[in-house]
Symmetry: C2
Subunit: 282 residues, 2 copies
Amino acid sequence: MRVLAFLDGTLANPEDPHIRVDDLSVQRGDGIFETVLVVGGEPRELRPHLDRLARSASMLDLPEPDDEAWQRTVRLVLDQWPSETECALKLVYTRGVDGTPDPTPTAFVLASPIGEKIIRARAEGVSVVTLDRGIDPGLAERAPWLLLGAKSLSYAVNMAAGREAARRGAEDVIFLATDGSVLEGPTSNVIVARGRTLYTPPATIGILPGTTQAAVFRGAERAGWTTKIEPLSVEDLHDNDGLFLASSVRKLTRVHTLDGEQLPDAGAVHAELAKAYEDVYA
Amino acid sequence: MRVLAFLDGTLANPEDPHIRVDDLSVQRGDGIFETVLVVGGEPRELRPHLDRLARSASMLDLPEPDDEAWQRTVRLVLDQWPSETECALKLVYTRGVDGTPDPTPTAFVLASPIGEKIIRARAEGVSVVTLDRGIDPGLAERAPWLLLGAKSLSYAVNMAAGREAARRGAEDVIFLATDGSVLEGPTSNVIVARGRTLYTPPATIGILPGTTQAAVFRGAERAGWTTKIEPLSVEDLHDNDGLFLASSVRKLTRVHTLDGEQLPDAGAVHAELAKAYEDVYA
C-alpha cells in the first residue's frame, strides 16, 4: 500500500503516471526532497525536515516552499495511512516543467511502507566501506554552486556509491574527503561514540545537517551524554566505542563491519542510544 | 511543437503525464541522457551519441541500451517532425520504477524546437565565467563511483553553475579542476585554437567525451588543421587565437568574454571552423 498527494491537496493513485517527461526532475534531477519517518501516525522531526527543505530550496534558487501547504499535505496523506503501521514519507519538490520562464514546482508527498532491508539494518546493523568523495572540506563554502549539503534530487552518485559498496560485499558507505576527513553516508550522517560523548562532523564541510542525528543528540543529552559537532578523521572511525549511521527511516544503525574488518561489539551502546532516541518521542 | 515517443514505439502527447512519481529519474536523478541535433531531418552524430549512451549506461550499471530500438524510435519521432526545421532530440533512459528488484528502464525520445537563446549563442557567442569544480584530474580514474564523465540525469550542479554564471553577468561556465586544469562546461566541451592547431582536454580527467567536439576536430582535420587532445590549463583559456564551447545543439560557440574580460575577436577563426564542422554533413 502507498498513498500519494500533491501539494494542492489532490490525492492520486501512485501507480498512475503524474509527471511529464519534461519535468526538470526527470530531465535534470533538478529539485529537492526530504524523507520523513512516521511512527504511530506521527511524522518524526517534521519541523527540522521542512526547515531543511526550505534550506535546500534556497541553495537551489527554488521558490520558497509553502510550509503550511506541506504540513496540510503530510496530514492529508497520513489520514489515509493506518496509524499502527510505520511508513516513510517522501516529500519531493521539483523545479517544474522545462521551457517555461517561471515554472511552477511539481510537489508531492508519497507514503510507502518500511522495506525489509531497512528493518534488517535496524536490527542487525550494517557493513560499511569508506569511499573517496574527492572533495576537500573547505569546498562547500568556497563553491556553493556545487550544492554540497543540499538535499537535491541529483542522487545518481549516492546510488552508485551503494552499488560500489555491494561490489565490495558491504551494504553502505561512509564518504571521506581528500584529507581523510569523515563526511557522511550517501543517505545518512555519521555518529561516533567515545566514552559518554557522541561526535558528528559539522555541516559546513559540505554535508547534510542531519535531522535524525540531531534527534539522537537531543535524546542522548537528556540521558546524560555529551555531544560534540567537530571534524572527524578516518582514524576516529576505528578508534571509538561505537560507530553509527543516522538516517530518518533506518534510525540509528550500528556499523558492525568497516572496510571488511569486524568492529568490536557496540550492542550495549547502541541499545542505550536507540532508547534515548525513542524517548524523544515518548 | 514537440514530438514524444517511447522506446516501445508508442507515440504520445508530451503535454500529458507519462512518468510515475516513483520513477527513479524523479526520485534520484538516476538515469542517463543524450541530446542530439537534427538538421534537414538527419540526426547529427547519432552513432557517437548512442555509443556514449551505452558508455554512460555501463558506468551507471544500467541494462545495455537496445541500440536498434533507439534508432527506430529516433526515426519514428523524426517522421513526425518537419524536416525543414531543426530540432533537438533528447534521449532519456532512467533506471525505472523504484522498489522493484530488476526495474525496466523508462526510455523515451523527445523532439523540441531550437530555443531563441541557443540561436543567439550560435550567432553572437557567449560570455563565460570559470568556476571551481573542486576535483582533481586524477579523481575520475580513482573513484568511478563518482560517475565523472557519465551523462547522468543528475544535473542539478550543472544547472546551479548556470545560475551562478547569470549572477556574475555571464551566460555559461568553464569548470576548472583544483590544480587549474580545464575540465568542461556544464553542457559543453572546451576547444582552444592556437595557430592551426585545436586543443581539447582528454576525457580521462573526468569529463564527457564530446560528440560535437569530435565532429569539429574531424572537420578541422579535413580542412588542414592539427588537433590535439591534451590537458589545458587556465592560462590556455587566455593565451590562444580562439576559445570555443562545443555542444550538440549550440554547435561550436565562440567565447567572447571570459571572467568579465573581453577576448580578442576570433570571428574569422570561428567562421572557418564552423564551416569545417558543417562540411562534415555536406
